[in-house]
């Protein structure tokens, strides 16, 4: 196929791809460069694609105006706990739905899937009441428990189940003959082979938790408990107007770990696929 493309077509294709790239790259470019500009330069006309002057103090102000390190840590550890918890719960539940025969398994799975159809805006008020009674408002528990046992985990369970359904039954039978019980089969055979599915679960669970906005603003009220998306809204001047350059500097710092996690997990994802040997 590739050999059939003439150099001229190739150049044209690259041209089209570069144009298509603009909507994806420009916002990031604008975020990073504007975080270094004085506010007046951000709104200058014509727009400055490359900053005329650099103001590095915006980054130090990010840490002065908010307990940003604490908030960073909040987001990071919540996302980590939610990711690991979801991976454990969804892989076990997905395996059970795919492999263990029990009465009404499919009906139960359907009921679990229904959880995906209910928007979080609908459940947030009853959840708030529930956590209020449990004394967990303005703690991180709601941000950890709701994703692990709620809709995000349901979706992860669905992904894991679909993977385990395709795992050859003979592998498990061989393991049974080799002397493994159900739990060992899960941990030693099924789970290591599920790396690609687990990697994608990890990516979207981490992103979901990291970007969570509605739940933090409902459940959290003190700055040192805030998570990053919530903290970003707090960089305002005395009149409530956003301090754009500082806010964009904080946004740049917020986006950075997500990019890193994605790059690492993507590598894991591809390696996992090759490693299982399930393809071909």
């Amino acid at each position: 196929m590739r050999a059939d493309i003439s150099p001229r077509t190739k150049v044209a294709l690259y041209g089209v791809m570069c144009v298509l790239l603009i909507p994806f790259v420009f916002p990031t470019w604008w975020m990073v460069t504007s975080s270094l500009k004085p506010i007046s330069d951000i709104f200058a006309f014509p727009p400055q694609l490359v900053p005329q002057s650099y103001d590095w103090t915006t980054y130090s102000k990010v840490f002065e105006l908010q307990p940003f390190v604490q908030q960073y840590w909040n987001s990071a550890y919540i996302a980590a706990v939610v990711t690991v918890g979801t991976m454990i719960i969804s892989s076990m539940a997905g395996y059970a739905f795919a492999r263990i025969r029990f009465p009404y398994a499919n009906a139960v799975f359907m009921i679990v899937l229904l959880g995906l159809l209910i928007p979080s805006e609908v459940t947030i008020v009853p959840l708030f009441q529930m956590f209020l009674k449990a004394g967990m408002v303005n703690t991180h528990w709601p941000l950890i428990l709701v994703p692990i046992f709620g809709a995000p985990s349901v979706f992860a369970t669905f992904v894991m189940r679909q993977f385990f359904v395709t795992l050859p039954a003979e592998l498990e039978e061989a393991a049974r003959v080799d002397g493994l019980g159900r739990f060992k089969i899960f941990t030693r055979i099924a789970l290591p082979l599920a790396k690609p599915a687990l990697a994608s679960v990890a990516i979207f669970t981490f992103l979901h938790s990291w970007n969570l906005f509605l739940e933090p603003i409902v459940f959290l009220s003190s700055a040192e408990m805030f998570t990053l998306p919530q903290a970003l809204t707090q960089y305002t001047d005395a009149y409530g107007g956003p301090m754009w350059n500082i806010q964009l500097a904080a946004a740049t710092l917020t986006a950075l770990p997500v990019l890193i996690v994605f790059v690492i997990a993507q590598k894991q994802f591809v390696e996992g696929l090759a490693h299982t040997g399930l393809k071909g």
Partner: protein, 354 residues
């Protein structure tokens, strides 16, 4: 090593019965092949012996123990699967040592056993590879290595050669047989390929529709099949069957009379099925003197022999001749069935009549 005894083994899925009471005594060290067409229940039977399927009725003994309700791991068996079922994320050595590891063997013991098995199967230089880096034949050998490494009482093979190409299948067939001769472990082997069954088995069990049709040594089954099903299943090209009637003059079928064997335990005038293997036709040198006229339909020279499709009266049959055939399709030659090698079956094919 152990005897395996099946007594009235049955299997049903709800109301559907798939195995209808199988009795089988497999002696210590014996190589028994379960053979039959697709859906005959041979794999189900093997999986019941392995413990991967529950046993609905009857008793299964391995050695002195009744194992009906034991887990596969407690039956002291090893199984080679059709797809090999090697763990993709483990090296050859880990795959082979996996069961020992789970039975609490020491590292030194695992290494020793794995090296011993690898030595027997010629896998010594492949121990660090992953299954995906191996060819079909090598994967097959690793699957066998995984089975022998733990020195189980019984080996179970579930169509282990069906994923290999024809040439490799012949090679691996020999290797499995040689392995059995070396280890002398009781082996139960499932295949749908009657050539595999004939070449490998000490005894063959022919299954059909969840029932045992016949049990016997390969050549006994070949020479004296108990019914028309076994006669047709064992042997390639398969036996010719001609429908007709037993008379004083011989076997009367459309247009020709064929010679009958001397001892027949049925009455004259009875309708029956006349069975003759392709290699039991002889060319008759004196037309009109002996033999029956056969119109040639197709000639297929194989080299050492020639396969001829021909018409005996109204019946199309296949003959295999050591001689070169110099006639052409449409011409008539004379052939005579070897009287001593004729099989007579009842009209419904269920009973042998000679």
């Amino acid at each position: 090593m152990a005897d395996v005894t099946l007594s009235d083994i049955r299997k049903s899925y709800g109301a559907v019965k798939t195995i209808h009471g199988v009795d089988l005594d497999i002696k210590n060290g014996e190589f028994v092949v379960l053979v039959g067409p697709s859906g005959c229940g041979k794999s189900t039977l093997l999986r019941m012996i392995a413990g991967l399927e529950t046993i609905t009725g009857g008793t299964l003994n391995i050695g002195d123990r009744v194992v009906n309700d034991l887990d596969p791991k407690d039956r002291d068996i090893a199984m080679v699967f059709q797809s090999y079922a090697l763990y993709p994320h483990m090296t050859v050595a880990t795959n082979m040592g996996f069961s020992l590891e789970h039975r609490g063997a020491s590292k030194a013991e695992i290494t020793e056993r794995v090296n011993w098995a690898a030595g027997i199967l010629g896998l010594g230089n492949l121990l660090d590879r992953y299954p995906r880096q191996l060819s079909g034949g090598q994967r097959q050998r690793v699957a066998m290595g995984r089975a022998i490494v733990r020195n189980p009482q019984v080996f179970l093979f579930d169509e282990p050669l069906s994923n290999l190409d024809a040439k490799l299948r012949v090679v691996m067939r020999g290797e499995i047989k040689a392995l059995h001769q070396k280890l002398k472990t009781t082996t139960i082997y499932v295949t749908h390929d009657q050539v595999e069954a004939m070449t490998m088995a000490d005894r063959i069990v022919v299954l059909n529709g969840g029932r045992v049709e016949q049990i016997g040594a390969p050549l006994d089954l070949y020479d004296r099949p108990a019914n028309q099903f076994v006669a047709g299943f064992i042997g390639s090209p398969s036996m010719n069957f001609i429908e007709g009637k037993i008379t004083e003059a011989g076997f009367q079928t459309s247009g020709v009379v064929l010679p009958l064997p001397k001892s027949i335990n049925t009455a004259m005038g009875q309708a029956a099925v006349y069975g003759i293997r392709p290699e039991h036709f002889r060319l008759s040198d004196h037309p009109g003197h002996a033999g029956v006229p056969a119109e040639i339909v197709l000639i297929e020279p194989m080299g050492p022999e020639t396969q001829v499709t021909m018409k005996l009266g109204g019946n199309q049959v296949t003959g295999v001749f050591r001689e070169r055939i110099n006639s052409a399709p449409g011409e008539v030659m004379h052939v005579s069935p070897e009287v001593g090698s004729i099989h007579l079956f009842s009209e419904d094919g269920d009973t042998r009549l000679n």
